[in-house]
């Protein structure tokens, strides 16, 4: 049975289910408990993170398993990696993915390497939850989408859920996966409502979802951009073009097969990614398809991404910065050479 729930509530639900299922699961990070034991805040209840995602969890599981930390990413991320290596299943919240610079060594050189360097004898069942995404007027240091950085590093799994149901299943899968996993929560999706299965379930990594079937064009959307792709697909359908929209759901591992099979069918590919355009998920997927489905391509692969620029603070500029259905349709018109579709 499904119930309607927000992206934010799906995360909260998944964390509670994981913590109930396994007492080794802990939640650690800046403000994750949210002042639950601060005397003068008791009447208001716990806030639970900067967006209130973990609200109420400390009340159910207590301070022993829901740990507020000082603003010191290297410190608590190091603690989480160590806890994972020594038997716990920590969920560590990095408030904004933009802050990864402060604790990259713990993630990149420690968590990602232990299993490999210790000949498989060590495991790091760590889940990092982090917030990404532009469109929230949060300026250049709080709006980036840095999943490509982590996709680049072997030993890390990278999850980019685009809806509440996927978020819950993928987050639960992350917690019970024995490798370090980083789950990207797009801050503009927290309020998104969707049907979510009740109770415990997991969605496996490396399995893309075909959100919409079509024969004329394949669009791979990364995270939130799946929704932009679906809007563009609706508009293209009105002009007689059927678009297949693919949500890879995880960038590492990547479900190459689903993407390649789709391109074999449609002959055309657009990748929509709001991250920076260089060395990105978009370029990676374009390269894979160029290599493995070359003979099936009937048009150049197009990428609809942010420009190679920091995210602007100005709301009109930020809107211009982001991928949009119009940009996707323009890209498609360049692929088929039909000026009818050019909207800009």
């Amino acid at each position: 049975m499904t119930i309607k729930m927000s992206y934010s509530d799906a995360i909260n639900d998944a964390i509670r289910l994981a913590m109930r299922k396994d007492e080794n699961v802990i939640l650690i990070g800046e403000d994750v408990a949210g002042g639950a034991e601060v005397d003068h805040l008791q009447d208001q209840g716990a806030w639970g993170g900067v967006f209130g995602v973990t609200k109420g969890i400390v009340e159910e599981f207590g301070r022993g398993r829901v740990i507020d930390t000082p603003i010191a990413e290297a410190g608590y991320m190091g603690a989480a990696v160590s806890a994972a290596a020594t038997g716990l299943r920590p969920i560590s919240e990095l408030m904004f993915n933009d802050f990864i610079g402060s604790c990259l060594d713990e993630v990149m050189n420690q968590a990602a390497k232990f299993h490999y360097m210790f000949g498989g004898k060590a495991k790091v069942p760590l889940t990092i939850r982090t917030i990404d995404g532009a469109g929230f007027n949060a300026a250049a240091q709080h709006s980036q989408s840095l999943y490509a950085l982590f996709t680049h590093i072997p030993g890390l799994k990278v999850v980019v859920p685009s809806n509440p149901s996927d978020m819950k299943g993928l987050l639960l899968n992350a917690v019970f996966d024995d490798d370090p996993v980083i789950v990207f929560e797009d801050k503009t999706l927290y309020g998104m409502k969707g049907e979510v299965e009740e109770g415990f379930y997991t969605i496996p990594f490396g399995k893309a979802e075909i959100k919409r079937a079509g024969s004329d064009l394949t669009i791979v959307g990364i995270g939130k951009q799946v929704l932009t792709a679906l809007k563009a697909a609706d508009q293209l359908a009105k002009k007689g073009f059927e678009t297949e929209v693919i949500d890879p759901r995880t960038l590492s591992p990547l479900d190459e097969e689903t993407i390649i099979n789709s391109v074999k069918k449609t002959g055309r590919l657009i990748i929509v990614d709001e991250a920076y355009p260089r060395c990105s998920a978009a370029t990676d997927i374009a390269a894979i398809v160029g290599d493995k489905a070359f003979d099936y391509l009937d048009a150049p692969i197009k990428r609809v991404t942010a420009p190679h620029s920091p995210v602007p603070f100005s709301p009109p500029l930020e809107k211009l910065y982001m991928p949009s259905p119009e940009k996707i349709i323009n890209a498609f018109s360049l692929m088929v050479g039909d000026k009818v579709f050019t909207t800009a």
Binding site: D295, D298, G337
Partner: protein, 412 residues
């Protein structure tokens, strides 16, 4: 180090050639200059010579293989040597082998009707693959993608079109002709020059709108004149004026006056030329070749005569190269020596006209009220009705006739 025998480029338009026959086997020793392999382009057949003394150590392309220009057909080395692939494509090797086919001279001043100014084809990978599996010539596909790029749908449309007209392409098999099986006989696979002619002729008849007009020229005076001129004009063995020479000159002069016939029909456009490059068909035992007399409009009768002689001798010796066999703007073919009168010559595309010359016979002819013995020459003009209509074609043929009937003008 092994030396490659490469598929030479025997003309600007040539992209690939076919291996007709290996004259040597692997392991045979060869001398520099000795013929090793016979190849054909769409224009001519040619033997490639060994670039150096040695042993034919490897054959890469078997008979009937279609090989892109510049690619190795085989290797010559010392006995026991194997082909070192690091040597393949080395500048040294390719220069040496290119010299052996150096009688092909590419001069930039000559008109090239096929490829000049053509931009590189824009084709999507998917379209390219489909064209390959569907046997579609991409040069004949109109691209509808951005900047004319050929996309999958364009190739698919051509394949669909080919499917819809299977009768026009496929020939009835032997079994379909009659119920009685054909037994005995000698079967010879169609290869080399025969294959080229077969394709060319079939294409000519399938893809043009050709028809033939016929008339007779009274050449009594011409024969007299030719005999006198021939005796009077003996400088050396080079020039021996024949009726064919006069006919060629008459055609050239008529073309200069009727430029609409001096044209080619290609890629949905008609190109008319000021210069006349006259093709003169020469029958050989293995087929027909058409050497070209370039700039014939600027040449005197004796110059044309000399060139026709040289070209037909060269054709019989097989020493013509592609350039001497291509780029004609009009052709003449003759069955006169076989006693044939009128016939229907087949166009040599992309030309739009060809004149068939029959055998001269003496007939009683009324000149005024008087019956006279006159020598008559049957002329058959085949033209492409796509490019030119009946009236101008007739006007051209009448001009040829008039030129032949006033021979003195031909030498003025």
């Amino acid at each position: 180090m092994a030396t490659e025998i490469i598929m030479p480029k025997m003309g600007m338009g040539m992209e690939e050639g076919t291996v007709v026959e290996w004259l040597k086997r692997t392991g045979d020793s060869v001398k520099k200059g000795e013929s090793v392999v016979s190849i054909s382009s769409d224009k001519i057949e040619k033997d490639l010579e060994a670039p150096e003394d040695g042993v034919l150590i490897d054959i890469e392309a078997d008979v009937d293989a279609v090989v892109p220009i510049g690619q190795a057909l085989g290797y010559i080395g010392v006995e026991g040597e194997s082909v070192g692939h690091e040597s393949a494509g080395s500048p040294e090797a390719s220069i040496m082998t290119k010299e052996t086919v150096s009688n092909v001279v590419v001069s930039p001043s000559l008109p090239d009707l096929s490829e000049k100014d053509q931009p590189r084809l824009r084709v999507s990978p998917a379209a390219r693959k489909l064209a390959k599996t569907g046997n579609v010539d991409l040069n004949k596909v109109a691209g509808t993608g951005p900047a004319g790029r050929i996309t999958k749908i364009d190739v698919a449309a051509v394949i669909e079109e080919m499917k819809r007209q299977p009768a026009a392409i496929s020939q009835p098999s032997v079994q379909e002709i009659g119920n009685a099986p054909l037994i005995g006989g000698t079967t010879k696979k169609v290869t080399g020059m025969r294959k080229v002619i077969a394709q060319h002729m079939l294409e000519s008849l399938q893809k043009t709108a050709q028809l033939t007009l016929q008339t007779t020229a009274d050449v009594t005076d011409l024969i007299d004149f030719q005999k006198k001129a021939r005796e009077a004009y003996v400088i050396n063995d080079e020039v021996r004026l024949t009726i064919t020479d006069f006919i060629a000159k008459a055609v050239v002069n008529a073309l200069l006056d009727h430029k609409e016939m001096n044209a080619v029909y290609q890629d949905d456009s008609i190109t008319t030329f000021n210069d006349v490059h006259l093709g003169v068909a020469v029958a050989l035992s293995e087929g027909l070749v058409v050497p070209v007399i370039r700039d014939a409009g600027k040449k005197t009768l004796s110059a044309i005569s000399r060139e026709i002689r040289r070209a037909s001798q060269a054709a019989r010796k097989g020493s013509l190269d592609t350039l001497q066999l291509s780029g004609s703007t009009f052709s003449i073919t003759s069955l006169g020596t076989y006693g044939i009168g009128f016939f229907t010559p087949v166009l040599n595309p992309p030309e739009i006209g060809i004149l068939g010359v029959g055998t001269i016979s003496d007939r009683p002819v009324y000149t005024g009220d008087e019956l006279q013995r006159r020598s008559l020459l049957p002329l058959s003009l085949t033209f492409d009705h796509r490019a030119i209509d009946g009236a101008p074609a007739a006007a051209f043929l009448v001009a040829v006739k008039a030129n032949l009937e006033a021979p003195l003008k031909l030498v003025l």
